[in-house]
Amino acid sequence: MRRRLALGLLVAALAALPTSGDAHAFRIPMVLVAHPSIKANTAHVHELRAIFLRQSEQLSGQKVIPVTYVTGNALRVDFDERVLGMSADETARYWVDARIRGLGAPPRSVSSPQLLVRVVASLPGAIGYAPKSLVEGTVLKVLRVEGLAQPL
């Protein structure tokens, strides 16, 4: 009996170890925004992942410039978890490895959503993400994100 219990506890402990695939539990409602020059109306989560990981520069055949937030920013942490499927550490590790492979630097980062909205509105081809309340009334184009279990 004791051996059964000990074995069960061991299995349970291993199962409880958080893995790199575990999802982040918190949500911040935001929208995907783009400069009016962007022709696409939607973006698949896999396309966004490739764009923000600098694996691709294209959205529906058009060159885009991703803009994100500085590391540690709550919006970025949430976006990276839900769209990139990466924790903050995993994202940081990814960019360390990308640099060693000669693949280049992370997307440009800004310090606040207000600044991101102004930057994306002014830079042709820019794409980013921000709280919906900051986007209303601006010239920014809101893109629908496909492939997410819950809305961005």
């Binding site: 409880a16 698949h44 709550a74 959503p113």
Partner: protein, 480 residues
């Protein structure tokens, strides 16, 4: 299901259900900061009605035009904010290094000790520096150099006497009496200028890292899972670097990315960094596809074809009898090399599977096989030389691991197989190994690997009967 197993399953399920919210709470803005100096963000409020979390837009932050002005004052954003006035060139310096502890369990006088330390040894491995500059919006310069203690300590075996010689680069310091300095070297890993014409066409020129497989592209020790590279990578079954031109590009769809590389280079040769002796350019390429249906799966295929020429013996015929002076080549090797490689990488929820296979064949033109001095001495006891023969080399590995969030820990298993007819001493090698790779910080990697190397078909009495050597390697690698 037996009673014993059912007990285990029930306990495991209960514990997992209880542990899930604990793990999630730990993940949210925990102590594992990404960058030094960046405060971890506290968990945001889950209330969907909150438009801007307080920690993102504190009351003291400027808004509106003040934010724009503040942004313009930040040099890093000027190039982003105004395409008419970019801040180019934009230079950055970074790199990586590693420190290794190795122990090969073998007798000290075994021949293997010339290739790997049989005494427990600390060693400084790579110190690589990158000079990366975005010259303009489309042009980028990337230079990578490796600092090394080599050639100091490099070991060779004299052909005729079989004496082991070790290179010593100690020299008296001319400025400080009595001080001995040991000089090293700088290896140029790559010097590349790239220009992005379109997403489907980027042209690169210079000294390029050959875009083949997975390991050769990764090449930096913080990015590599294990301590030792596969033998076919270090043995350059496909040249690790080439001097020439490369075209590359990529197409992207929602769940699929496809890309290519094409290279045209001097190929292999004794001084291929600045001379192509046969004017017969080597052609290579890689095509790959990445599929994001279940995690991320990348499949790649590489080819390389090149002719290698080495004018081994040349002399100048002086102008006599009215004839002009000319260069005479009395011994030259010509060989045609063909290589193919396939690779697969799959990442899904922390699980990583990597595998590569490469095969390369070299055929010599009969009149240009050349001759080589055997490196062991004992083979040419009668003074005869060996004639270079055609060769076939192939090898592969299979690696599987899983990365846990706890200190970025990844236990892994790796198995390598290699067959090299150009290797007289150990043509066939099998190497299973178990290890653990930890990344407690994004740029800091700790590795511990143990395994065994089987040398199949080794020359009798060179390494012992059925040569098999156990080893332990550990490494600290860091990016800066």
């Amino acid at each position: 299901m037996s009673r014993r197993m059912s007990d285990v399953v029930v306990v495991a399920l209960l514990a997992t259900a209880l542990a899930a919210p604990v793990a999630s709470a730990q993940d949210a803005g925990g102590p594992d900061a990404i960058d030094a100096g960046q405060p971890s963000a506290p968990p945001p409020a889950p209330d969907a009605a909150v438009p801007v979390p307080e920690e993102v837009a504190p009351a003291s932050a400027p808004v509106g035009d003040e934010a724009v002005a503040a942004a313009l004052a930040n040099e890093d954003l000027q190039g982003l904010f105004s395409v008419e006035e970019p801040s180019y060139p934009n230079l950055s310096l970074y790199g990586f290094a590693d420190f290794t502890f190795v122990k090969l369990f073998a007798p000290k006088n075994n021949l293997i000790s010339l290739y790997s330390p049989t005494q427990s040894t600390f060693a400084l491995g790579n110190v690589n520096l990158y000079v990366d500059s975005q010259i303009s919006r489309r042009a980028r310069s990337l230079i990578e150099v490796r600092l090394s203690f080599l050639p100091d300590g490099a070991t060779t075996i004299e052909a005729n006497t079989a004496q082991v010689r070790r290179v010593n680069t100690d020299v008296p310091d001319t400025r400080i009496l009595g001080r001995i300095s040991t000089w090293g070297s700088i290896t140029i890993e790559r010097v590349v200028l790239s220009y992005d014409f379109t997403p489907w066409l980027t042209l690169s020129v210079g000294r390029l890292i050959t875009p083949w497989g997975l390991w050769n592209i990764d090449h930096g020790t913080p990015s590599l899972i294990t301590v030792l590279s596969p033998l076919f990578v270090d043995g350059q079954y496909i040249p690790a670097r080439q001097t020439g031109i490369q075209a590359s590009g990529q197409w992207a769809w929602p769940d699929v990315r496809a890309g290519y590389y094409l290279t045209l280079s001097n190929g292999r040769g004794p001084v291929e960094t600045y001379r192509d002796f046969d004017e017969n350019k080597a052609v290579g390429g890689r095509v790959y596809g990445t599929f994001s249906y279940l995690g991320e799966l990348t499949l790649g295929f590489t080819f390389y074809v090149g002719r290698a020429t080495d004018p081994i013996a040349q002399y100048v015929r002086l102008p006599v009898d009215g004839k002009r002076a000319r260069v005479e080549t009395t011994q030259e090797t010509h060989s045609l090399e063909k290589a193919v490689s396939a690779d697969l990488k799959w990442e899904y929820k922390g699980t990583l599977v990597m595998t590569e296979f490469v095969a390369t064949g070299r055929t010599y033109e009969n009149r240009h096989r050349g001759a080589i001095e055997a490196t062991t001495g004992a083979l040419v006891s009668d003074g005869r030389r060996q004639i270079t023969s055609d060769s076939l080399r192939y090898g592969g590995y299979f690696l599987v691991g899983h990365r846990f969030r706890f200190l970025g820990t990844m236990p892994f298993f790796d198995f390598e197989y290699n067959m090299d007819t150009e290797s007289f001493l150990f043509p066939r090698l099998l190497m299973p190994q178990l290890g653990i790779n930890m990344r407690p910080e994004p740029g800091l990697v700790l590795k511990l690997v143990g395994g065994v190397t089987y040398f199949k078909d080794a020359q009798p009495n060179f390494f012992g009967e059925q040569p098999k050597f156990w080893y332990v390697n550990s490494q600290v690698a860091w990016a800066f």
